[in-house]
Amino acid sequence: MKLEDRTVLITGGSRGLGAAMARRFASLGAKIAIAARASHSLEEVAASIRGVGGRAQAFTYDAVDPDGGHRLAGEVAVTFGPVDLLIHNASTLGPVPLVPMLETDASDFERALRVNAIAPLRLTQAVAGSMALRGGGTIVAISSDAAHAAYPTWGAYGASKAALELCMRTLAVELEGTGVRILIVDPGEMDTQMHAEAVPDAHRGDLADPGDVAAAIARLVAAGSTPNGARVEVSGLREVA
């Protein structure tokens, strides 16, 4: 996928991997829409991209608002045109420190499902039909190995990411032949605020730089050779690059 002049929508773009991807895709000439709950850092990321000559706009987006996805898709399309690349990056761990499944409050699990699985589905519903009509588009879902492995205390988050992955794989099958490509990316462990909240005693030197991961994801999207519906681990990508 050629990224120049394309509309790229990244949820959760105010920090960590989302902000790194915003900067990376902007440097490749894309028009960047970053969406997250209203915050100073969200505006700052957009302003810093504009400051170096890129095109970026911050959009206030609440993932649990049932109308949020269609509103966001509309606002982005008015500003930059229909979305060509959608990256589901916004995600919640739930309350930290993480607690075992037996102690997980069901309402926290519900919220994890809403933010991590249902909101991406809604946003996909708002943009994928237009991509199919235009004969192309890429949707990337940022996931986690917790979607597959049973890590103690990561149950609610992992189950919500498993739901996200199966939604995306089903969408990939349903959209086969329309030109829309869906990719699931496991970025591995990164040196981000979210990781620090989940694993406070992690050794930062062992964690990947979100900027490197963003670069790997940009190469993956630009190459366009990964099959629709594939799940990609970013550590593998870095070896290839």
Binding site: T79, P82, R122, G129, L133, E174, L175
Partner: protein, 385 residues
Amino acid sequence: MLPAHGPRDRAVRLLAIDPLDGSLSLGWPADLPALLAPGDLVVMNDAATVPASLMGRTTSGDPIELRLTSGSSITADRTSSFLVVLFGAGDWRTPTEHRPPPPRLAPGDRLWFEASLSAVVEAVDVRSPRLCEVRFEAVGADLWRRIYRAGRPIQYAHLRSPLRLQDAQNPAAGRPVAVEAPSAGRFLHAAALRGLSRAGIRVASLTHAAGLSSTGDPVIDALLPLPEVYDLPEATVAAIDGARQRGGRIVAIGTTVVRALEGNLLEHGALRPGPGVTDLRIGPGYAPRIADALVSGLHARAESHFDVMSAFAPPSLCDEALDVAEREGLQNHEFGDLCIVVPRAPSRARPSLLPASPRLRPIRHGNGAARQIPTGASGVAIPSL
């Protein structure tokens, strides 16, 4: 015929009307590929619907509802002035024809909405106090962010519950320029597009800013549809030309597609890609030169959509089709059932309509008779203020 009460009430039906042999058949939207043939081209409107209804107040506190008559600009300029229709107290549950007019307004008066959005009245039309030009006190992306927060889609009194923004979108919609959904494209979700493609039927799109369908004010309704902007992509012009040369039929999904294509052709003498404005009204006796078939919602005889349908089939057949639809329990309005007017016999190859074409020859119909070529637009003026 009864109106459909909501977007998810029941499965939509498709009534097929053959204008050549007068046959009518009833099926489902999924039957569309079977009604068409390889080489045919489906042209759809990719306009998304903006939240064009804004509830607000005047400076003295009187409640009003403002409805935009047009969405965001196709050419991405920074317009903040809009032609709008205003209502007084009340909400969508009251049919628009029973809604009171807004309080008396004059140029300079301000209107206040949610999301810190405000507007200044610039002019009030002499024909109806409901028709005004306003200037929002925000511009560009900032204006639309506020409108998406303060507004919601235009509502219909026959619905059971209020429409959400997603209810007013067609599945393949991508460009937010319409104030009401071009609802004939409601059934063309990604799987339907894939079904057409597998049947050898190509799909192309254009963007047409569908405007208000009715306001309940007879003075304003007589002006509808107002001139509407559209954008005709180069790829769509090429696809139309290719299909025609192969003998394929051009299937317009919705009356907005017919207006854009026919309006463009009338203005330029040949299809010319790019943005445009059309004030074309299509009715019985108008012979469409681009579109061979039309997919449309079912509409009452007095509505302009019915007039467009009557340009594709004899009015007596359209009448009969509406009677059949009623007998079969079909429903009308935005979320109702659909019809397709399509001649079964494939057309034969026809001359190019590209501007580069050396000359424009008369189009021949299936029975060999020359079709009447219209000579001018009907000339509905933009309401003067």
